[in-house]
């Protein structure tokens, strides 16, 4: 006989026996996400088209009169737009949890005898895989247009993309797990995605900025992602590789922790 205030059954006492199935669970969810991604062509197409619009419409138009550090504006913004693709892809991916709820598929996963951290991990791996596929397509297009200049640069950019994606997908999953209905979608666009993109140095160098912008740029983890991508593709970095990776990994840990907690709280 025991009473509790929470509606949630606690997990730990039987945790250790379940560990055997932990990685099977992670794997199952990961594979599901990849299959779904490959089948939902609309997601892939929109994920690549939006960045291309930025590069060719905004970059092309602005580039006619703007140059940065002696390079064309398009060349300068390409790493930033690749980072944007990761950001948008990851946050959208996180918000797809709402669709999972609508499809009722989420119930099957939440009822399964798999710890919620495994569910989170599987979802995160799935999101990172999706984001990497998207950004790779974009980088290959960049290679064709000369924004990506060498194969090593391409491979390094893909590697850095994985680090950025882990961070952004974790953030997306926090949002998705706490959103109850698709109505919050526009709020997330306005208050998370656009500010993170605009104030990350994706569109302009982050030196000598007004103080109020500088604060946001400094605490925005995507800033360090953009910096990494620029290091891979242009060979220049504002903060240095280790600093960038350190900040991103720290943010990933924090987001993954909050995300796992959010998953544990998720009700059927």
């Amino acid at each position: 006989m025991h009473a509790r205030n929470s509606d949630l059954p606690e997990q730990p006492p039987d945790g250790n026996v379940i560990m055997m199935g932990y990685f099977d669970g992670v794997y199952a969810i990961w594979v599901r996400e990849i299959i779904v991604f490959m089948r939902e062509k609309e997601r892939v197409i929109s994920a690549v088209v939006t960045p291309l619009m930025w590069i060719f419409a905004v970059g092309g138009g602005l580039g006619a009169s703007v140059q940065i550090d002696g390079m064309s504006y398009q060349t300068f913004m390409f790493p930033g737009i690749a980072s944007m693709a990761i950001l948008f892809g990851s946050i959208f991916y996180g918000m797809y949890i709402i669709w999972d709820r609508k499809l009722d598929f989420l119930k099957e996963v939440l009822v399964a005898p798999v710890p919620r951290t495994a569910v989170f991990l599987g979802k995160m791996l799935g999101g990172v895989s999706d984001a990497l596929m998207q950004v790779t397509v974009l980088l290959l297009i960049g290679l064709a247009f000369g924004f990506v200049t060498s194969l090593p640069a391409l491979l390094l950019a893909i590697f850095f993309s994985a680090i950025i994606a882990m961070c952004m997908v974790s953030l997306g999953l926090i949002i998705g797990a706490n959103m109850k209905s698709p109505e919050g979608f526009n709020l997330v666009m306005s208050f998370v995605m656009w500010p993170m993109f605009m104030l990350s140095g994706a569109l302009f160098p982050v030196e000598n900025l007004p103080a109020y912008i500088n604060i946001i740029v400094t605490i925005n983890p995507l800033t360090y992602g953009v910096d990494l991508m620029r290091l891979a593709l242009l060979g220049t970095s504002q903060f240095g590789m280790l600093y960038d990776i350190g900040i991103l990994c720290f943010a990933t840990l924090v987001f993954a922790y909050i995300g796992s907690k959010s998953f544990e709280r998720m009700q059927i």
Partner: protein, 326 residues
Amino acid sequence: MNEKLAISIEKLAKHFGALHAVDGISLTVHEGEIFALLGPNGAGKTTTISMLTGLLAPTSGSANVAGFDVGREPLRVRQQIGVVFQQPSVDDLLSGRENLEMHALLYNVPAKGRKERIDEMISLVGLTERQHARIKEYSGGMRKRLEIARGILHRPKVLFLDEPTTGLDPQTRQHIWEYIRKMSKLEGTTVVFTTHYLEEAEQFAERVAIIDHGKIIATGKPHELVEELGGDTIILRAKKAKEVAAKIKKMAFAKSVKVDGEMISAIIANSHKNLPKLLRVLSGIESIEIRPATLNEVFIKYTGKGIREDSAEGGFWERMMNPNNR
């Protein structure tokens, strides 16, 4: 009958604020038994199932399912059970087979023999030919069959079915029950289901519990509960129904007299002798019908109303899924 218990519930309760969704129920289910929880919408059936499947912590009381306490070891309980929800929960974007493969991974079905087990389950529910089609292309009945196959794929000791046949046509309902029965016999699985189709409980359950307003008001084998009524149902139509009903109530052999507009229903003991007596006393009867009593009359006897009368649609799931009601 096997006397080992698959489920034992003691004073289990769940309160949502002032609402006592489940109000201290005690119950046992034997291993291998097919057991029905019967009650109108909102009676507490789904909330009970949620607690028994470890998805919802009880406010008080305890329940042991397949040897584990649902409050303390929900994950272990979940490994021992299969659940088929009221609402579909298969993944639309995957094929039928892929859904089962994923389930096998989530429920730790050993890699050796996994493929064969999936084949076996698919053929049990007659979906072999459609196994590679996406769920999107499945009909409602096919989805339900797949969910049942999935529910038993990992050889659960107890299978919970929450309103398994709601919204399905009669033919599909019949098929689904045949599968469930076959599977229960084949694997010795205990089956607990909720329904508000009384005839379904009467036909397929070995034992039923009638639940209303969060309390269990009767348990037993369906035919025993019906026999306890001690009579047949008569349904009369009369213009002055209230007056006629008052006269019937005075008769010692009449029970559960109920008026609904011009319709009067009652249970009459030894109807072959007593009905003529009754008719001699009554006047103004327009029509009369007599038939054997069913669980519906049992339900009316205990609750004073028919099972589908106050159907405020939507149980626990609906409430939890609706963001406005949290």
